[in-house]
Amino acid sequence: MEQKKVITYTAGHASVRKQLLLFWIFFIIGSFTIGGGYAMILMMKRYLVEQYHWLKDDEFYDMLAISQVTPGPIAINMATFVGYTQGGVLGSVLATLGVSIPAVAVIIVIAVFFPGFKNNVWVQRFFAGVIVGIVAQIATIVLDMGKRQKWTIVSVIVCAGSLGILFFVHQVSPIWLILGGGLVGLAVEGFKPHKATQATAKKAS
């Protein structure tokens, strides 16, 4: 059971077909992500965990957490990470390009041909509708994560505390919350006898 927690990958051993598939999957995800990188998390999970079984649940959420602690757009971080673990350096380049190309292309098309794009009332209505769908999809991920989370007194306090800070203290950079959460994790580990830790880790997986 411990095995499950380890991020394993086949970097460098991926077939050409898999690498093209990586490009394609991230291209599709990049083409449909409106409202920033968070919106694509559910789609990524569908493809990577549920459809292709390249990643396990735990690995996916680990990568998501790491993508939040590192600088840059979450979408790019996830694409590079998944691309590398599934297809080596070439895989990471392809996945990153895949997720980026739609964003670049659509803006160039708009800048060249449709400068009045955002003022069109139909465009506005359509995208307001899309946002409704995006909200539902991110909420799905929230519920999924909440179900998987090992709820202890500490994790409840950390989660509720972070929410409180996000809602009531404006202008706080997420990085401080994330680092704070990590430090709490370290502190909990530090106060635990080693054997107990292994038992919890086993139970978790």
């Binding site: 380890v6 990958y9 970097a11 990049g30 083409s31 992500t33 409106i34 920033g36 990188g37 968070y38 789609m43 959420y61 680990d62 957490a65 790491i66 939040q68 590192t70 600088p71 840059g72 757009p73 790019i76 590079t80 990470f81 990471s92 997720v99 980026s100 964003a103 670049v104 659509v106 803006i107 160039i108 708009i110 955002k118 209505r125 359509f126 509708g129 899309v130 946002i131 769908g133 909200v135 539902a136 999809q137 991110i138 994560m145 989370q149 994790s155 950390v158 989660c159 972070s162 929410l163 996000l166 950079s173 994330i178 704070g180 990590g182 994790g185 370290l186 580990e189 830790t197 880790a201």
Partner: protein, 176 residues
């Protein structure tokens, strides 16, 4: 005329030092592009942000493409987009090469476990802020709840892209 090197440099720097995703870049971009460098006006900046938020792809890349294109055309757009992507790419590549040891180290594992509830809180807040900023009427919230229930009930059978397209179609009908 703005040099390619300057374009690349500004976006590389922003990509390098912005934590918390592309949305967190917007205030930094404004400070650099509008206030410090005066490459674009405040009105242009706000227009770019508005379009970036309703077009596919990470907002940061949309913004970079916009500014690059405005200042130096197609080549400029590629230079700025590459600039904003590269820091993430390089940093993650370095991390990914050692990632297989992540969960074998007790402390790293504890650190990651500590992050998860915060990530959960951030996502919850994101749902709230996107809904508040982007859903124009109360029946939009009802529709979102309906879609959520459908995904939960029939989840694996749904094509998520079609869900978004259908939601867009619904938007054409119900939002005024």
């Amino acid at each position: 005329m703005t040099s390619f090197l300057a374009l690349f440099g500004v976006f590389f720097k922003i990509g390098m030092f912005t934590f918390g995703g592309g949305q967190a870049m917007i205030p930094l971009l404004q400070k650099d592009l509008v206030a410090n460098l005066a490459w674009i006006s405040m009105k242009e900046f706000l227009d770019f942000v508005a379009v970036s938020e309703i077009t596919p792809g990470p907002v940061a890349i949309n913004m970079a493409t916009f500014v690059g294109y405005k200042l130096r055309g197609l080549a400029g757009a590629l230079v700025t987009s590459l600039g904003v992507i590269l820091p993430s790419f390089i940093i993650i590549l370095v991390i990914a090469t050692v990632a297989h040891t992540f969960r074998t180290n007790r402390w790293v594992s504890a650190f990651l476990d500590g992050l998860q509830p915060v990530v959960l809180a951030l996502l919850t807040y994101t749902v709230y802020s996107i809904a508040r900023g982007g859903i124009p009427a109360w029946w939009g919230y009802i529709a979102a709840l309906g879609i959520l229930l459908l995904i939960l009930k029939y989840g694996k059978k749904f094509n998520l892209f079609l869900v978004l397209l259908a939601a867009g179609g619904l938007g054409l009908l119900i939002f005024r």
